[in-house]
């Protein structure tokens, strides 16, 4: 069996180099046809590497942690509250913020494709789009959480949000204890991408140092 797996591994590698060539050919064809500009593709890739990523979401979360009025706005109308900070990019047109508490732990999935709040978290990680996560998160969320090292007590409800519409979910993790006098800048370092998907908690002060 292991021999067979090696073989499949080799197959994957040839897939990848095939894909490099295939995608180069595709791009040159679409440019020649006038449908796209390579410079625009460069710019899109660049923006999602540098400007549109989980720091946007961390900004939203920390503002909710530190400003009660913003927290209320985010609960009542997440779309307006998030757009007010300039995070209006695509896959963020309709936002719902869900707040973790001792009673309920929220996590987000898209079982049918890869819906994800790009405007506040950037592009989804590979695991978020993978069959293991998409299949198991709705039927065995606690098992998935444990793989991430996230143990939710039996007495806390786990609520999974399957993103079947254009609504995009942002999880607001619980603010870690011992951060009462931290600045917004310090707090943002505790807000990981996974904590805003709900597969992890926000980092503790100890983890962040």
């Amino acid at each position: 069996m292991s021999g067979d797996h090696d073989h499949d591994g080799a197959h994957d590698h040839s897939h990848l180099s095939d894909m490099d060539a295939r995608i180069r050919a595709l791009e040159s064809l679409l440019v020649e046809k006038g449908y796209i500009e390579s410079e625009a593709v460069d710019e899109i890739v660049e923006l999602y590497e540098t400007k549109i990523g989980p720091r946007n979401g961390a900004h939203v979360v920390v503002k909710a942690w530190t400003e009660p009025e913003f927290e209320k706005w985010l609960r009542d109308d997440a779309t307006a509250a998030i757009h007010s900070l300039g995070y209006t990019s695509r896959q963020g047109e309709h936002m719902v913020a869900v707040f973790n508490s001792d009673d309920t732990h929220h996590m987000v999935v898209c079982t049918l494709c890869s819906c994800y709040p790009w405007s506040v978290l950037g592009l989804p990680p590979t695991w978020y789009k993978s069959p293991p996560y998409r299949s198991r998160s709705v039927i065995d969320p606690r098992g998935v959480l444990e793989e991430f090292g996230t143990v939710v007590p039996e007495s806390t409800a786990v609520e999974v949000h399957d993103s079947t519409a254009e609504t995009r979910y942002l999880v607001v993790p619980q603010r870690p204890a011992g951060t009462e006098d931290w600045t917004a800048e310090q707090l943002q370092k505790l807000v990981t991408r996974n904590s805003m998907i709900g597969t992890s908690f926000a980092l503790s002060p100890e983890q962040a140092t």
């Binding site: 595709l26 064809l29 046809k33 593709v41 899109i44 079982t111 695991w127 996560y133 991408r193």
Partner: protein, 225 residues
């Protein structure tokens, strides 16, 4: 359609996390040079105005389940993009194989230029809500029973949530209905709700009685329970 994309509740795919407990697992979004190019091209091709997001989802889920569950995700996007362009005669199969243009382009609505990318991405042009032409039938707290339907066409009601009873937990707006728009039949906007199901209702009595799953579903997906 009950295709390879309808993964909710399947067993046997193995662990999600290969490095358990790593604080922010899988920081990189790409795993090969071609992947960001596909992402960027798919976004850029949207400006041509030849399809909507639901049609592009349906193109991706229409590949064989055997391919769907084995292909890297951006390869699924590539297959979907090529299918959409072939269907609309934007490219030919021969052109895709050779990478060389043999036929003139079709007329498209626009081409995205570098200087316009930031504005285009932030335009909210992809908003799915539509002017409300009627009142919603349901209110928060109503119990609803989803229909048991198995169309071969695009639907956003996954198999695991069909024929199940849940509770309306939010009214989300009057939105484009993908079960119409994804099949080329127009926006047909419908009221959209967040519906909460208990894990026990979806999966059986052995689940934690506190746990729940919400889905965002449109009025045609359910009836009063």
């Amino acid at each position: 359609m009950n295709g390879g994309q309808d993964l909710g509740g399947m067993h046997g795919f193995g662990p999600v996390v290969s490095e358990p407990g790593k604080p922010d697992y899988d920081v990189e979004n790409y795993h090969a040079h071609w992947e960001p190019r596909v992402m960027g091209m798919v976004v850029a091709m949207g400006a041509c105005g030849q399809w909507n997001i639901d049609i592009s989802r349906h193109a991706r889920e229409s590949i064989s389940p055997a391919e769907y569950v084995t292909f890297p995700y951006y390869k699924i996007w590539t297959e979907g993009l090529e299918k959409l362009m072939l269907e609309r005669s934007m490219v030919t199969a021969e052109e895709l194989t050779t990478g060389e243009m043999r036929t003139p382009p079709i007329t498209v609505k626009g081409r995205l230029k570098k200087a316009d990318v930031w504005t285009a991405l932030h335009s909210l042009g992809g908003a799915a809500n539509r002017p409300e032409t009627r009142k919603q039938k349901f209110k928060v707290g109503d119990l609803v029973h989803t229909i048991n339907t198995h169309p071969t066409t695009h639907t956003r009601l996954p198999r695991y949530a069909r024929g199940r009873t849940g509770e309306i937990t939010k009214i989300l707006g009057f939105h484009v209905f993908p079960d119409s728009a994804g099949n080329g039949k127009g926006d047909d906007p419908q009221w959209l709700y967040q519906v909460r199901f208990t894990a026990q209702e979806l999966w059986g009595e052995d689940k934690n009685p506190r746990d729940t799953v919400t889905l965002d579903l449109w009025e045609p997906h359910f009836n009063s329970a």
